[in-house]
């Protein structure tokens, strides 16, 4: 339990009610006035209370599964970001099984959780490693999803296992992205192959893999610039990086990880589609799961694109990366905030 810090164990969620209130002490409000603003925040607080009432309803034992109950359930499901379609499907299933019966809420939630678990469980949820020679891991994602930080964590995770890691700083587009990764490399004591700002990222990837081969490294992790899946030319650039790497090592890249931001909503589906087509993703790193976002969108993402979540990011530190645990994930998915 202590190891797996999703950041919202049961105790945490209990604490959240006083926490939201304490963030806006009266002294704060007084400094910058505005009657309307005050009224608004007052109303907001009332709404918070109403929201917590729903939680109480959920805790009450033995509820009649009727339209009202299903509507409450819908809210919980939608708020987890699993998307309206998945929500509809789950609700339909629950309605068929439990409608007009009095059941314990936990029973219903459990049956939802086990259904989700089925969809989230994958055989190849661990990293695929090369049988011989270096394992090449290509890391992709949209801007600001957390690629560089995830790479640092991954490097740390693997070097803790005694693996020798070299990083390829392939984000030659964003200002200071190379420096960002270089600072991490320094902190972690791993090798790094740097690219000049503005140079072809495929050339950086090529050099990184060459260094990995020549220096007998176990792992070569290649960073890429953030890009939106709608930018055709940038997506082609990804395909090119992939091709270049494959030319050096026929098996490589052994892993192409898509870094998804846990706060992302339904657009994550479009991201997964775009990146899978262009880069042939093999797995997902779900970053920023330590916040208040649930990351439920990975349910439709894994289902539609058969992409297993391999790791979750839980903070800004180098050690804040954990292998994905589906049981844990669904356990906290529906804890009301």
């Amino acid at each position: 339990m202590a190891l797996f810090r999703f950041g919202r164990s049961q105790d945490d969620s209990e604490k959240e009610i006083p926490r939201t209130e304490s963030t806006s002490p009266e002294s704060d409000q007084a400094s910058r006035p505005g009657f309307l603003a005050r009224l608004r925040s007052g109303l907001e607080r009332t709404r918070q209370v109403l929201v917590t009432d729903v939680r109480d309803l959920f805790k009450r034992e033995g509820r009649l599964v009727d339209d009202g109950f299903l509507e409450e359930l819908r809210r919980v499901l939608v708020q987890s970001d699993i998307g309206p379609s998945a929500t509809d499907a789950i609700l339909a299933d629950i309605a068929v099984r439990y409608r007009a019966r009095v059941v314990e809420v936990e029973t219903v939630l459990d049956s939802i959780r086990s259904g989700l678990l089925e969809r989230l469980r994958f055989k190849q949820a661990t990293l695929t490693l090369a049988t011989s020679g270096p394992t090449v891991i290509l890391v992709t994602g949209v801007n600001g999803s957390g690629k560089t930080t995830s790479i640092a964590k991954l490097a740390r995770f693997l070097s803790r296992d005694g693996k020798r890691v070299v990083l390829g700083a392939g984000d030659t587009f964003r200002a200071a992205a190379v420096e960002q990764l270089a600072l991490w490399a320094e902190r972690l004591g791993v090798e790094i192959v740097r690219g000049e700002m503005g140079c072809d990222p495929a050339s950086v990837a090529h050099r990184a893999v060459a260094v990995a081969i020549a220096g007998n490294f176990d792992i070569c992790i290649i960073d890429t610039a953030g890009r939106l899946q709608t930018q055709a030319n940038l997506m082609q650039e990804l395909s090119k990086i992939r091709r270049v790497v494959t030319k050096q090592l026929p098996e490589a890249p052994h892993e192409v990880l898509l870094v998804l931001d846990a706060t992302a909503g339904q657009n994550a589906l479009s991201q997964a589609r775009g990146f899978q087509e262009a880069a042939g993703c093999t797995g997902i790193v779900l970053a920023k799961l330590d916040g208040s976002a649930r990351g439920g969108v990975i349910v439709p993402v894994t289902e539609q694109f058969h992409l297993p979540v391999k790791f979750v990011g839980l903070g800004e530190g180098a050690d804040d990366l954990e292998p994905f645990d589906p049981e844990r994930f669904v356990a906290v998915l529906f804890e009301t905030t």
Binding site: R19, T20, T23, S24, D28, A37, R40, S41, E44, R74, R75, V78, Q79, S80, D81, G83, P84, T87, V142, N143, G144, S145, G146, T149, F173, R174, A175, A176, A177, E179, Q180, A182, L183, R187, L228, Q229, T230, Q231, A232, N233, Q236, D261, A262, T263, A264, G265, Q266, N267, A268, S270, Q271, E277, K288, D290, G291, S292, A293, R294, E316, T337
Partner: protein, 492 residues
């Protein structure tokens, strides 16, 4: 999506046409489609609920007009309500005269604060004011370097902390320096933080109290899901925000977070980020955002961009030539070049209503690359061939051009055939307004790059008649729009 909302509404409301009023029961099914579209666009659950309720009340009892599709009527109401909720607009930065204005940016990690900071700085600088950016993100490695590099790019001074590890002190020192130097505006780029991280949120409050920023903006990723309300509320509680900057709207995110954030904080959305370049910052327009959330495309933005970027002289020249009945491959190339200035074709396509689906269909095809091939072919032709391709280009010339452009033989033939069909339409377009012409041009380009479609000349049609038809249709559309607008303004 708009089509599907429209369809589900139509389905539910067909029986109503011309008689009766919209009631809760006959609207419910249709509004279910709107609700789903909004959830699909990541509008927060509670916000959607409140919204649908409000629309029902508004639409309830509205008389269904004889001439109108009740579904359209409801979509009209939905759209109007959305615009109302996301407005009113306030694009002003409220810069002070005669003293240093302090703007502070905050947000979650990776939302785009640093990039937005540089974009805002550039915008302010272009207004002729002195700007300084303060690199107060001491958390993320190399965040300071990033701001320094961006500052160099846009030629704006950056205050960097000298070994100081406390962001509050950094902001204080940066502001003091700006004031001492008489700089008009100072922008604080703070570190990204989670809304539930009490310690870091308290740090933001401390910065707020210490330097007293005139404006505090929250930077929100347009791709944010249901969490948008939670985090925006936390930031608003801690800082009392003055505005929102929504980023990454150049992708295909529907941006429902805009509505969520606006309704939970009540502060205006000021700007939207539409690219990684430092000038990709636009004013926020609720009507366009409403259309986007509903999946209605973004014609207005397109027209505005077109007016800005199209070379007016070139347009004029082309128009005159078209009027004179001349249209050659040279003109075609110039036109394509003009269009390309708008940005990647995919982006352009996505902004046109009804073209969203087209974009998906073409997802595999690389439009920009196809365009390059066309340029290649045209460039490999002699001036004579470009002026009159249909009559001059024979088999041997075709072979020469294909070799010159490095394309397959049939690609040259395809282009000539397509040009044939197109020139007639192009001539017809000379009389159209900019907006209609844009639409028409996009249609032609879409077909041109669509591997299965062929833009052949319609049989037995002179092209002139086709144009008349088009004109009539367009007039019909315009009238319909006018009627709707009139009705809407009457209704409210």
């Amino acid at each position: 999506m708009f089509d599907s909302i429209q369809a589900s509404l139509s389905h539910a409301l067909t029986a109503l046409r011309g008689r009766g009023k919209l009631t809760e029961s006959n609207m419910r099914e249709g509004l279910e489609g709107v609700r789903k579209a909004m959830l699909e666009a990541d509008v927060a659950y509670d916000v959607v609920g409140e919204f649908i309720e409000r629309v029902s009340v508004d639409a309830l009892g509205a008389k269904v007009l004889e001439s109108l599709d009740p579904a359209q009527q409801v979509v009209g109401i939905v759209h109007r309500e959305l615009v109302g909720l996301m407005g009113p607009v306030d694009h002003s930065l409220h810069l002070e005269q005669g003293r240093t204005t302090i703007l502070m940016l905050c947000g979650l990690q990776g939302s785009g604060k640093t990039t937005s900071c540089a974009k805002l700085a550039k915008k302010i600088k272009e207004q002729g004011r002195g700007v300084m950016m303060v690199a107060a993100d001491l958390q993320r490695p190399a965040a300071i370097e990033q701001l320094v590099i961006l500052g160099r790019q846009i030629d704006v001074a950056v205050y960097t902390p000298d070994g100081e590890r406390d962001p509050v002190a950094v902001c204080k020192a940066g502001v003091a320096k700006a004031k001492a130097e008489g700089i008009s505006v100072v922008l604080l780029d703070t570190a990204g933080r989670l809304a539930i991280d009490q310690e870091l949120m308290a740090e933001l409050s401390r910065i707020d109290k210490t330097v007293g920023p005139d404006q505090v903006y929250l930077v929100v990723d347009a791709m944010t899901g249901q969490d948008a309300v939670r985090s925006a509320k936390a930031f608003h509680d801690a800082l009392e925000l003055d505005g929102i900057v929504m980023t990454k709207l150049d992708g295909d995110a529907r941006g429902g977070a805009a509505l969520s954030v606006k309704s939970v904080t009540g502060v205006p959305i000021k700007f939207i980020g539409t690219g990684e370049q430092v000038d990709a910052l636009e004013d926020f327009h609720p009507d366009r955002m409403a259309g986007r959330i509903l999946g209605m495309g973004d014609v207005l933005t397109l027209v505005e961009e077109a007016q800005k970027k199209f070379d007016q002289d070139e347009m004029q020249k082309q128009e005159e030539r078209l009027r004179a009945g001349e249209f050659t491959l040279e003109d075609f190339k110039a036109m394509l070049l003009q269009t390309r200035r708008l940005g990647p074709l995919g982006k352009v396509l996505g902004m046109i209503p009804g073209m969203g689906g087209m974009k998906d269909m073409l997802a595999g095809a690389d439009l920009d690359n196809d365009m390059n091939r066309l340029f290649g072919i045209i460039n490999a032709m002699t001036p004579q061939e470009r002026r009159n391709p249909t009559n001059i280009i024979d088999q041997s010339r075709r072979r020469r051009i294909a070799t010159g452009a490095g394309v397959a033989l049939n690609e040259v033939g395809d282009l000539v055939k397509q040009f044939d069909g197109m020139s007639a339409m192009m001539k017809g377009m000379a009389g159209l307004g900019l907006r209609d012409r844009m639409k028409e041009m996009q249609r032609i380009q879409g077909e041109l790059t669509n591997p299965t479609g062929r833009l052949a000349k319609a049989k037995g049609d002179t092209g002139k008649r086709l144009t008349a038809d088009q004109r009539r249709n367009q007039k019909k559309q315009r009238d319909k729009e006018d009627r709707r607008r009139r009705r809407d303004s009457r209704g409210s």
